[in-house]
Symmetry: C2
């Protein structure tokens, strides 16, 4: 595809969500300056981001909310549904199941797996929980997994997911898992985020928000 910078790609879902809000509020037009205040991204950065997709706005006017939203809906494939499996129905996994990302987007946790007998067979937030031994049977066709198991289990389960044909993993365990090159892993390391915040507070006082 075209060359959308990764930094831009990471902001797209954010723009999408705020445009959706504006649309629900009945707003018809929006400037990069207004959007900037809402999402806390510099207005020049927003204009640059949008410009990778062509000229979406009008000089002197701004952007048409509905048009922009429709454009991003296509670009972000909001019309295709992506099914996701969640592995590890513990504290964190259970929170995700209750939340379910479905709310206003195109991503849905379709099934969950756990090793504990008492969790298997239940239904949390409308998502069935299967035994981890049934992973290979049940998970056919699912390409994305959320990992919320203990760190010690991460490598073993990852290998099974790779075998099964996964293409993306959102990893909440502190383990840095090893996968073949064609598989994408995003790590969200909550303890590291908290430590980094504290480090910044002590060592970079008064700096601006990030």
């Amino acid at each position: 595809m075209n060359k959308i910078p990764q930094a831009t790609a990471k902001r797209l879902p954010l723009y999408y969500r705020f445009l959706n809000n504006l649309n629900h509020q009945g707003k018809k037009r929006v400037s990069s300056k207004e959007l900037s205040e809402a999402v806390k991204v510099d207005s020049a950065t927003i204009r640059r981001d949008f410009s990778y997709f062509g000229a979406l706005g009008k000089k002197g006017y701004g952007y048409n909310v509905e048009y922009l939203l429709g454009f991003f809906r296509k670009t972000l494939d909001q019309d295709e549904l992506t099914d996701v499996a969640l592995i590890g129905v513990g504290n964190l996994g259970t929170a995700f199941l209750h939340y379910n990302f479905l709310k206003n987007n195109n991503i849905q946790i379709k099934m969950a797996f756990d090793a504990a007998k008492e969790k298997v067979g239940t239904d949390i937030g409308g998502v069935p929980v299967y035994h981890i031994e049934d992973l290979e049977d049940k998970m056919t066709g699912i390409k994305v997994a959320i990992l919320t198991i203990p760190a010690s289990e991460a490598d073993g389960i990852t290998n099974r997911l790779v075998e099964q044909g996964i293409t993306g993993i959102l990893n909440f365990t502190p383990a840095r898992i090893t996968v073949p090159d064609h598989i994408r892993v995003h790590h969200i390391d909550l303890a590291v985020e908290l430590q980094a915040l504290v480090y910044f507070l002590k060592h970079y006082p008064l700096s601006k928000e990030d």
Copy 2:
């Protein structure tokens, strides 16, 4: 302080944790190459990161695990305890309370707040839950907060936190909150992370891990 790049600062807690692991395993030395494989960061980047703190290794040898660990312990202020308050004891907040980041570091959730009567007065994972109305009374001295309330409540609570003297917020709500310049906010937007992962899978196939 000196000029540690932010990108480097964000990796420090990660290095620290892996060095800790190595130390527990009884390992005495480690090379940037080995560390690179463990944390999935290019070895040149690791050497560059370390070099901001001076010459911590020995050519032809690598790094002494114990020495490096001691160095980072001081640098990351692992000896000072940072107290944190959590606001919003719902699905996500409860998971964090059970986890408590205390486990192997210097950060501790000291108290939690919620608006729901049935949660107030309880004790989750050893952390007392107070009523949100008592925020100003109870929270004296605490400089960091984790926000796990509904998005609609984010602005109001943020203002109260700012009044109370907070300096850092880890915000899990989808709202982009507004704060004065001297306050640092890190957003962790789980829905955005998942959407971004899916976007990358569809539009950047076969690219390497990030």
